[in-house]
Amino acid sequence: MKKKYIIILLILAVIGTWNSCKSDFLDIKPAGVLDQSVLANAKGIDAVLIGCYSLLDGWSISDVTWGPQTSNWVYGSIRGLEANKGTTAADQPEINPIQTYSETASNGYLNQKWRLCYEGVSRCNSLIVIANSALADGKIDQAEADMYIMQARALRGWYHFEAWRMWEKIPYLDETTDAATVDNEIDARPMIIADLEEGVKLLTNMGAVGRFNKTVSQVFLGKAMMQMYHDYAGALPILQAASTGTKPDGSPIGLAPTYGEIFDIENRNKIEAILTVQYSVNDGSGGANGGYGEVLNFPYKGGGSPGGCCGFFSPSQEFVNSFRTSGGLPLLDNSYNDDPVKNDLGVVKAPLDEPDPFVRDQGPLDPRLDWSVGRRGIPYWDWGPHTGADWVRDQTIDGPYSPKKQVYKKSQEGVYTEVGNWTSGYTANGYRMIRYADLLLLIAECQIETNDLVNAQININKIRARAANSAGWVKMPDGTNAANYQIAQYTTPFADKAFAEKALYMERKLELGQEGHRWFDLNRWGITVTELNRALNYERTMQWGDVLYGQSTVGTEDVTYPIPQRQIDLSNGKLTQNR
């Protein structure tokens, strides 16, 4: 009897042991993820393609802060001295050396930007691999494969081009490249051009406003030819073709009737925008798709001004002064700094119910200034007048101005901004990566460089005529102009190429200021060192300039950023520094 129990118990134990030792016991499938083979069909490939597009907004790779921003407010605008970092000295300290032209290869922001560009490249390459395997398996046909791969190649071209603009001496990877062995000795430019040319084969109507289409690819191709090769003659017809194209959803492109409306979130996908990086809010991403890279760039007055955070990206005095006009035209000899725009530094705010003691600048100004910069006393969208020091985090470091172009309206809070997050600065205000005015000015630039000054002048005047539409000027509540706006077109024919260049360079600064282009433009024009040293010497004489810029100067090496040291280290000697 007792023995029987023991036998039964032992048998049970042995059976238990046997059962848990089935050979598949150690085969555990990964939970919550997909295998590549599940994606190798039309639906899967399109989703992977969405993944390729999703990095256009600068987010996300692991361990990032604001380094991979898509609007290049640090790399293009602050580096181009249109603005300074703003905020407080110790906030995001990696921006400090970038704005003093003393960044080292170990700067973390640069590493983030690099990694974002190449994660974009990597995603495009995996798409091409998956699409080819689906094609081989008969899951998609050749025409479908082409559609996916052409988009992926155009995007791959763009991600590489973005890297090239930053570092020039970059590695190029296609879907066959081994990331472990790639170096940066081979000139990447021909491959970038080839990839962008693939995009030109796309349809003009891609059915969705966020995709790359023929027109978008043409602009990028033309821009890349200008930036990388100074091939103005080659770029001109491509850009001209683009100017008669459409947006990716097939809708028309052109100049918006007034200047200010361009930056209203409502109009982010309207006529002016050829390609807007699509930001979305309240979409379940917790703000990550809402322009994460630009989230810091709002005036600093909790509850009383837009965004609530963080007082970054303060326009420089030198930039503001450029809007001084004489006879409606800009001062192309830079003499605008002799008659600086009056600022409110050190003028405290008025007690409640008392008039503002600050007397605003009365001189003639280009009306685009007050859409580009928030300054005291001027209506700031529908937030009421900018109140000066108390909207700025610390005027002794930031200077007196606030950014404006990406700021949302009070009436848009909660609709075009993320709710329930630490800041409302996550917005749907997608970065206008290519807008029509940019295209017109690129065309004008090609025309100047190919000595067609007449048509260049016509194109520049188109921009100025639009800016001169007083319906779009910033108005006081009583309907009067917020400042003494005076703007005119160039009526005298451009005297020579040198003058035309000056006019064009200034027009880009005024029209596209604070939009992340400046430093890249200066590099293309080859005037980075002289122009930035001139501006720096002026800005340094400002109250905040000494604290911010100290003894810094711009050197010949500052036309690129150093290749991130981390990447050189990780490449096991394959990558070499670019300077």
């Binding site: 993820v33 590549q36 300290p93 170990s106 809010v281 379940g284 917790g286 963080c310 490449s571």
Partner: protein
């Protein structure tokens, strides 16, 4: 599977042996008696066995026993832990009363080791034992906290927050990813013992070297801690223990400026920088002195944030049983308020252990079951938003509540009684009112339920051979919610309220089957264990949702569906891990003098690919009892002396993700979704590669050598234990950061790195008695030296992620893990001295008179008088990142525990000191308060002792608003401090009420005590508390570490 075939054969063999057992012969006789101990009265629970048979009994509460013996030739053996065994031949007696002698040596002690128990004198591996009394001596409510300083080789860094566990490291650090020891509770392996009530623990052993631990194979490399919970004994016994007391937060930081001083500092900055400003707080800088605004407060944030907090604990146990059935039941309740307002932790535990023997003691069945329910209003730590950091960063000028109205406040009008905050005026920084935030969090909810249990059946197949099968598992489940309020008082406000709610569950199970052979043949003694084990763990999932825009903040309105807009709804499914293992251990002792032991374990893990998932972990150890040799027989002062040595391997599979072998695609809305249609409020699903798979990863293996000795000398009064070890980890799993060109998918773990640890473990004990005065002292010393031998081909270092948020404020992270250095070493610039005026001359550049560095001083960005002059480590005349060097080490040179206990008549006094020597701390709080450029609150040194034109000998740099390479943006040894400390962890005075006073009220014993915990700490460290944890790749950073606090307690223990 091959191995199972053998197992079956073995089982069949044993079965046939069972079947062939003969029938017991007659001539039986019943013996009764009482067992007592000298000076202690009756002894319950003593094992009474008939030598050479399986017949046994256990004494009841009165020390009485009854046993049937086969005949007059039988010999009764009486054994009880802590007492010398006694043998009595039965002869013609029918009543045998026995008095046992207390065994002063610990060598007879039975130590629970891997899958068996051994006498301490037979051990050949390195095993640390923590006495149960010591585990509960310091009232922490958590086993991991109680281990500190109690046994050598174990480094514990405490966490002062209620309900949190400490970091336990055994013999240094051997992995980049996971260095947590394996806990085995009543046979159930787990990584978490926070749910175990320390009061329920019968014994705790720490297996340190390969000789002891490698029977746990793949899970042993970080050491194994074996916990056995209490069992019942014959007779009913009820105990109750409680303590109640208060925790004191102390004074907090004393080096911060008050409101007036902060204003004076601003004037010093204006003077130093030559800045002209119209300060929105203090008026024009041209004024002779600052004027404080009318609303200014003078807040001591630490005082406002903290309180004297109550702690109380109650434990009730009931145990009992008879010869065939025993049980132990316990209830525990711990309630601890945090010193930070609105924080607390509560823990309720229930345990039921039982054991039944039947079929003539041939079969034993038992179970252990514990349930723990915990609630917590926790507090974040080591993070920029944590309350303690905010003590260092909130300006004192901000009032907690407004005492006057500010109609034109920066963020809107403020009424009297409103929360104060950085929104009152500009230049107040961005740190949020910590009191307001704590108040807002008071209704958040967080609980966790955990059930841990195991059941076993133990069959005695024949004398000396047992089969045991254990099935154990845990189930846990938790819930939390938190609410975010709309704020008005801050410079950076939250515009919409939101509510987050989440829940999770998980479970795991283990099945273990072992055969144990315990035989003595003359002078040969064999103990062998063979077993098979299957484990599945990490099963579970979690979900979390967040909505925003709540119409009402009322607590009862907080449900997800009441929020007007959905922020996210997420869940995740865990990938579980399975393990199968076979193991064999054999211990052999010859003449009790020569001890040999061999272990081998083979493990398979689902975390590795099919070709590499099995690992074999052998170990060998040997012992030599020198004291039994004839040449030492004459040496009278040596009572026992044993040399030990071991070599073996242990593995680690925790380092890799269960998904490591798979190449995976996936995507989250933030990472790969895109609003391709331009809606502005929705995004289209997208995917990208998320993980690069490596099917070839295999176990981390460390090879450990251990040499040691144990001795008891001077009449068994002094005990010495000494071990030297070397632990080399090869095939160390590391996921090297891939070049950016490879994309951002999670890189797979590769077996490429290597690391080594060497160290000494030492323990000294002294026990003596002088009349009524009993004396017991012990010293425990732990050292380790960690060195990274290799990271990856071409990779000599890696920096950990930005775990304490320091990198948002300063360039890089302070820790660097580099070949040739210990893990987490501090890396940065060495401050040479401060720049002086003599280092500069004036030049006119572009018409501007400019201060230029003299050519004999290395060029440094941002150089100016009064700022840091960094060391030019490579002497090339330029200061740049290559000049950074290793500036400190957070690993202590040694840690030590010092335990003292006195008894005098009915009084007992015990003290426990714990110390850590030679570790550096990166004091992030010092960064907060040492630079005028940063946010918020500043320190006294900056105002009174900083560099000025008239105080050029200062070591504190000039107060300035200039942020540059030479001021606050770089990591330097300016922020490093010596973190050595010695702390009085425990001081306790107890009084046991004399028995004769208690016998009338049926109380068996009653002891009352008063206790002080963390009474004092001797340290040079300037922060709140030098005991600082953190991730293994970046520890020793004080980013607002929550301090361990003083406690004063009263308690009593009573048994019926």
């Amino acid at each position: 599977m091959q191995i199972t075939k053998y197992l079956r054969r073995i089982a069949l063999f044993f079965l046939s042996m069972v079947l062939s057992l003969g029938v017991l012969s007659a001539q039986e006789k019943t013996i009764t008696g009482k067992v007592s101990a000298t000076g202690e009265g009756p002894l319950p629970g003593v094992n009474v066995t008939v030598q050479g048979t399986v017949i046994g009994a256990i004494t009841d509460l009165d020390g009485a026993y009854k046993i049937t013996v086969p005949g007059p030739g039988a010999v009764l053996e009486f054994s009880f832990i802590g007492y010398t065994n006694k043998q009595v031949p039965v002869g013609t007696q029918s009543v045998i009363d026995v008095v046992l002698e207390s065994d002063v040596t610990a060598l007879q002690e039975v130590v629970v080791t891997g899958y068996s128990s051994q006498r301490r004198r037979d051990l050949t591996g390195s095993v640390g034992v923590v006495e149960t009394a010591k585990l509960t001596a310091v009232p922490t409510g958590n086993v991991s906290n109680s281990l500190q300083g109690r046994t050598s080789g174990v480094t514990v860094v405490g966490d002062g927050r209620p309900g949190e566990t400490s970091k336990v490291r055994i013999r240094g650090l051997s992995s980049f990813e996971n260095n947590d020891p394996l806990y085995v509770v009543d046979g159930v392996p787990t990584q978490d013992i926070s749910s175990i009530n320390p009061n329920d623990i019968q014994s705790l052993s720490v297996l340190k070297d390969a000789g002891a631990a490698s029977i746990y194979g793949s899970r042993a490399s970080n050491g194994v801690i074996i916990v056995t919970t209490k069992k019942g004994s014959s007779g009913t016994k009820v105990t109750y223990g409680m303590y109640v007391g208060t925790q004191s937060p102390g004074n907090g930081p004393t080096n911060l400026l008050n409101t007036q001083e902060e204003a004076d500092l601003q004037w010093l900055v204006y003077k130093n920088d030559g800045t002209v400003d119209n300060n929105p707080l203090y008026g024009p800088s041209t004024n002779a002195s600052p004027t404080l605004p009318y609303w200014a407060g003078n807040t001591n944030w630490y005082k406002e944030l903290t309180r004297n907090a109550m702690v109380q604990n109650h434990d009730l146990t009931i145990s009992g049983g008879n010869d065939n059935a025993k049980f132990f039941a316990a209830l525990g309740a711990l309630s601890q308020d945090g010193i930070v307002i609105y924080t607390d932790a509560k823990k309720y535990t229930a345990r039921f252990n039982s054991e039944f023997t039947f079929l003539n003691d041939r079969v034993k069945f038992g179970e252990n079951l514990t349930m723990a329910y915990r609630t917590k209003h926790g507090v974040s730590n080591q993070d920029e938003s944590s309350p303690i950091v905010r003590v260092y960063s909130l300006p004192s000028i901000i009032p907690v509540h407004m005492t006057v109205a500010v109609p034109d406040g920066l963020s809107g009008p403020f009424e009297v009684g409103d929360w104060g905050g950085t929104g009152i005026a500009s230049r107040l920084g961005a740190v949020k009112n910590v009191i307001a935030d704590q108040w807002r969090s008071k209704d958040n909810d967080n609980w966790e339920m955990r059930i841990v249990g195991s059941a076993f059946i133990d069959v005695k197949i024949m004398q000396g051979l047992n089969f045991r099968s254990t099935l154990g598992g845990t189930f846990n489940n938790g819930y939390y919610n938190y609410y975010g309020f709309v704020t008005h008082e801050a410079a950076e406000n939250t515009a919409t309220n939101n509510f987050t709610e989440g829940a999770w569950y998980g479970n795991d199970w283990v099945s273990t089957n072992t055969f144990t052979l315990d035989k003595t043949f003359g002078q040969h003694k064999i103990l062998a264990v063979a077993g098979y084990e299957a484990v599945k763990y990490g099963v579970g999932r979690d979900s979390e949702g967040r909505r925003a825009d709540y119409f009402s903040d009322d607590v009862t309105y907080r449900t997800l569906n009441n929020g007007a807009s959905t922020i996210y709804a997420n869940s995740s499914l865990n990938t579980p891990t399975t393990l199968v293992s076979q193991f064999l251990r054999a211990d052999y002792a010859l003449m009790d003098k020569y001890l040999l032991s061999a272990t081998v374990r083979r493990d398979g893990s689902s975390r590795f690919g099919p070709d590499t998932r099995y690992g074999v972990f052998p170990s060998f150890s040997a012992g030599w009892r020198l004291s039994d040799e004839s040449f030492l027989q004459g040496v009278s002062f040596i009572n026992d002396l044993k040399l030990r040595g071991s070599w073996g391997t242990m593995g680690n599979q925790l380092a890799v993700s269960p998904q490591n072998q798979f190449y995976a695609y996936g995507g989250s809305p933030g990472d790969s979704f895109y609003d391709i249609n331009g809606t502005g409020n929705s995004s289209v699903q997208g995917f990208s590669a998320t993980r690069i798979g490596n099917p070839n990863a295999k176990w981390e293996t460390n090879v450990t050598s251990n040499i040691g000795f144990e001795a008891t000398i001077l009449n068994n009064k002094v005990g010495i234990k000494f071990d030297w070890y070397q632990k080399k980890t090869k095939d160390l799993l590391y996921n090297p950061e891939l070049p950016g060109t490879a994309g951002d998918a999670t890189p797979s773990y590769l077996n490429i790195a290597a690391m080594s640890n060497t160290g000494l473990d030492m323990e000294f004990t002294l026990k003596d008695k002088f009349g009524d005065l009993g004396f017991d002292a012990s010293v425990v010393l732990t050292t380790y030296k960690n060195n990274i031998d290799k990271i990856a081909e071409g990779v000599t270092f890696f920096d950990p992620g930005n775990q304490t948020n320091t990198a948002n404020r300063i360039n890089g992270v302070p820790s660097r893990n580099m070949v040739g250095h210990p893990m987490s070493a501090f890396f940065g610039y060495k401050v040479d001295r401060l720049f002086q005026e003599a280092d500069f001359h004036t030049e006119v550049i572009d018409g501007i008179s400019t201060l230029v560095q003299n050519s004999d001083v290395p060029t440094q960005d941002g150089a100016a008088p009064g700022f840091f002059k960094f060391q030019d480590s490579d002497n090339d005349g330029v200061i740049y990142p290559e000049d950074r060097v290793f500036i400190g080490n957070p690993n202590p040179k040694f840690t030590y525990g010092f335990n003292l206990a006195f008894t005098y008549k009915n009084f007992d006094l015990s003290a426990f000191l714990y110390g850590s020597q030679g570790n550096d701390i990166f004091n992030w709080n010092k960064w907060q308060i040492s630079f005028a450029q940063g946010f918020g609150q500043k320190g006294k040194d900056l105002l009174y002792n900083s560099w000025t034109l008239t105080n050029t000998g200062a070591t504190v740099p000039k107060a300035s608003s200039i942020a540059s390479f030479s001021t606050l943006t770089e990591i330097s040894d300016f922020l490093l401090e010596d973190g050595s400390f010695l702390r009085m962890k425990n001081l306790q005075l107890g009084y046991t009420i004399p028995e004769n006073l208690l016998s009338k009220v049926s109380i068996q014993s009653l002891r009352v005590y008063v206790q002080a915990v963390n009474l004092f700490t001797i340290t040079k460290y300037s922060g709140l508390d030098p005991e600082i944890g953190g991730w293994d790749t970046s520890f020793g950073i004080d980013a607002g570490n929550y301090p361990l606090v003083k406690q004063f307690l009263f308690g009593l223990n009573v048994s019926f």
